[in-house]
């Protein structure tokens, strides 16, 4: 097993006719993702990389049985597309799009919750169940199948840490990119809970960074709800205050959201916290041996 995404999950790609959507559809197909349809309004009837394109999500669902969707669409179009996709019955959506207005993110989040849909992002690198399927932009060659669950706010750091783990012979059950905007659709505690219930995950690695309070909430969740061990790494110990470090949500405000305060909260919750990415490998090894 794995969480959220499995071999055979019938995937829809929204924005498949765009430059990025097209290129990423090719990488996903090469990886083995079961892409059954694409959607771009006005481009229905076309084909991209052998995948039929529809005008609406409802058609992709009724004609091709799409059950999960990944967005490569511009930020101003995300809110309407998310509503349409949820209304069409799809219950897993990966929003790769960057720079989604925070108010739109709040609206989409509320709508998704009301309808029981799981959305990842915005600014999600995607989700990958190594050896089975991937939705998003994660390069497949950085991952390998295994029994470690990974949750990351950053895409590139997820690649880094999964590659380090893979080099040490430790693969992933599923790696999830939750996104690093000020408001994300699905937070750390919920994703931790999914991994805790997954029989094929032995340990969860959190890849956090400065800004926001996701890690602090995880620190409250873990002692009460997690039966599996957790290892964490927090990026940005050297980040200056008051500067957005590339991600909209990666900003230290006053003494809030620093890497130190997050690391401390997690340590107090019994989590092993790495100071540098490569230290994650040693900590995971240590925890698994115990």
């Amino acid at each position: 097993m794995s969480i959220l995404l499995h071999k055979g999950t019938r995937v829809l790609v929204q924005g498949i006719t765009g430059r990025v959507g097209r290129a990423q559809a090719r990488w996903m197909l090469d990886y083995g993702t079961n892409i059954v349809a694409g959607v771009t309004p006005g481009k229905g009837g076309e084909e991209v990389e052998g995948v039929p394109v529809f005008n609406t999500v409802a058609e992709a669902v009724s004609e091709r049985g799409a059950e999960a969707s990944v967005f490569f669409i511009p930020a101003p179009a995300v809110k309407a597309a998310a509503t349409e996709t949820i209304d069409a019955g799809i219950r897993l959506i990966v929003v790769v799009t960057e720079h989604l207005p925070v108010h739109d993110a709040m609206e989409v989040r509320a709508y998704a919750r009301e309808h029981g849909a799981t959305l990842l992002g915005p600014t999600s690198p995607g989700i990958i169940t190594p050896g089975e399927s991937k939705m998003g932009i994660m390069p497949g060659n950085m991952f390998r199948p295994g029994r470690i669950g990974v949750i990351s706010r950053s895409g590139t750091l997820a690649y880094e840490i999964c590659a380090d783990l893979a080099a040490a012979g430790m693969g992933q059950s599923t790696a999830v990119g939750m996104g690093a905007d000020p408001v994300v659709f699905t937070g750390l505690p919920e994703l931790l809970g999914l991994f805790d219930n997954d029989p094929d995950t032995d340990l969860v690695v959190i890849v956090g960074e400065v800004g926001g309070t996701q890690e602090e909430h995880a620190a409250r969740f873990i002692p009460e709800h997690m039966s599996k061990p957790v290892v964490a790494y927090i990026a940005g110990h050297s980040a200056p205050k008051g500067k957005r470090m590339g991600h909209a949500g990666a900003i230290v405000q006053g003494s809030m959201g620093t890497a130190e305060s997050k690391a401390r909260a997690l340590r107090e919750a019994g989590v092993q916290v790495a100071r540098y990415p490569l230290d994650v490998v040693a900590l995971v090894n240590k925890v698994l041996r115990e």
Binding site: M142, E160, A235, G236, A250, L278
Partner: protein
């Protein structure tokens, strides 16, 4: 994007929130004219994007026109909280009987707006939270339904306010929420909302922060945003579409992702000092990385460059071409170490090597940084 007080006040006034009459002044003569029009006494307020300016001398009262001119002359060009004062607000002075804090902010974890009220207004909400958290009332707001007037009244009643006073404060909280929503704000704050001895409510200071990602819906602020970045290199970064954060060290960093960039910076900081943080985002092209090279190489006293790229959404082989073209046109003696992994990594390595860059394939960032340290020590 943080707004100046006068911009924030304009935004809130448009929703019907009352402010004392105010005018923006950029010279002592303008301040004098403003005070003449408004009527003495006036309050002169430095326009800087920092809280706590009152205690830092950024808010002064003037009783006469000569005093207005003198105070304005002293404030303009000075620094308040380390920031240069380029303009002032001259506002009518209001007698204050009581101060209330009203704020709407985004709770990132809940993913909802939160309405906040405190009867201990006049100091920052952080200070109230630290000293007397029992005087803060807050409640999440459904983004779909918005903050209704009855809900606003309920929040005010929870703070033990009643009658006409409660109605007036609730009305302002309701309007504040509307300003928050209509402007795509991350924060909208009135502090203080003052009660005059006559029992009227009037806003004496305003703070608004807009969402950078939503500025495309607010063109009146989009252009100002660009002008507001004071660091030239950071401004240039913004111009070409990357995040550049200027730092004090000698080792430049180019990373193809924010998290990777921060981790790289942490690792480099163990033994070296980063000159900058640069994150390309997901739109790498040969042209973009050519421009990125031009940007980071402008920094004085560079001793080394570390490039860390992942090919996920980014075509890193294209980016590599831009880096190499820049180096062909602008040769540099400083050591450059690059790491590139992901889609089309082998092709990327070959291109980078052809530009004289030390490529460290398939190792952790820590080991690649160690290679840069070794090169620097060898050349020292």
């Amino acid at each position: 994007m943080k707004l100046y007080e006068f911009e924030a006040a304009d935004v809130l006034r448009a929703q019907g929130i009352p402010f004392p009459e105010y005018t923006v002044a950029a010279t002592p003569a303008e301040a004098r004219r403003a005070a003449t029009k408004i009527g003495l006494p006036v309050v002169i307020k430095a326009q800087v994007l920092a809280g706590g300016r009152g205690l830092a001398g950024g808010v002064q009262t003037a009783e006469t026109l000569d005093e207005v001119e003198k105070t304005a002359g002293r404030m303009l060009g000075s620094r308040v909280k380390g920031l240069p004062v380029e303009c002032l607000v001259v506002a009518g002075r209001v007698a204050v009987a009581k101060e209330i804090y009203l704020g709407i902010t985004v709770d990132g974890y809940l993913g909802m707006p939160v309405a906040i009220l405190s009867t201990a207004g006049g100091v920052s909400i952080e200070e109230i939270a630290a000293k007397s958290p029992e005087l803060i009332t807050s409640r999440p707001v459904s983004i779909a339904a918005g903050l209704t007037l009855p809900e606003a009244e309920q929040i005010v009643r929870e703070a033990a306010l009643t009658g006409n006073e409660a109605r007036a404060i609730a009305g302002n909280l309701y309007s504040l929420y509307r300003a928050f929503r209509q402007n795509d704000a991350l924060l909208a704050e009135i502090n203080p909302l003052a009660r005059t001895p006559q029992g009227d409510y009037i806003a004496l200071d305003a703070r608004v922060e807009l969402d950078d990602s939503a500025l495309y819906r607010h063109p009146e602020f989009q252009n100002k945003y660009q002008e507001r970045i004071s660091n030239l290199l950071e401004k240039k970064g913004r111009d070409i579409g990357v995040t550049y954060v200027d730092l004090e060290g000698e080792i430049s960093i180019i990373a193809s992702g924010a998290g990777l960039g921060m981790a790289t910076m942490d690792i480099i900081s163990q033994k070296l000092r980063p000159a900058n943080f640069l994150e390309t985002g997901g739109a790498i092209s040969a042209e973009l990385l050519y421009q990125v090279m031009g940007l980071v190489m402008q920094k004085q006293n560079l001793k080394g460059l570390f490039i860390n790229l992942y090919g996920g959404i980014n075509p890193i082989h294209e980016g590599a071409k831009g880096i190499v073209r820049y180096l062909e046109e602008h040769p540099t003696p400083i050591p450059i170490v690059a790491r590139a992994l992901g889609n089309r990594q082998e092709e990327t390595w070959e291109i980078l090597k052809s530009g004289g860059i030390t490529v460290v394939p398939k190792v952790a960032t820590e080991k690649a940084v160690a290679e840069l340290v070794r090169l620097l020590e060898a050349s020292a």
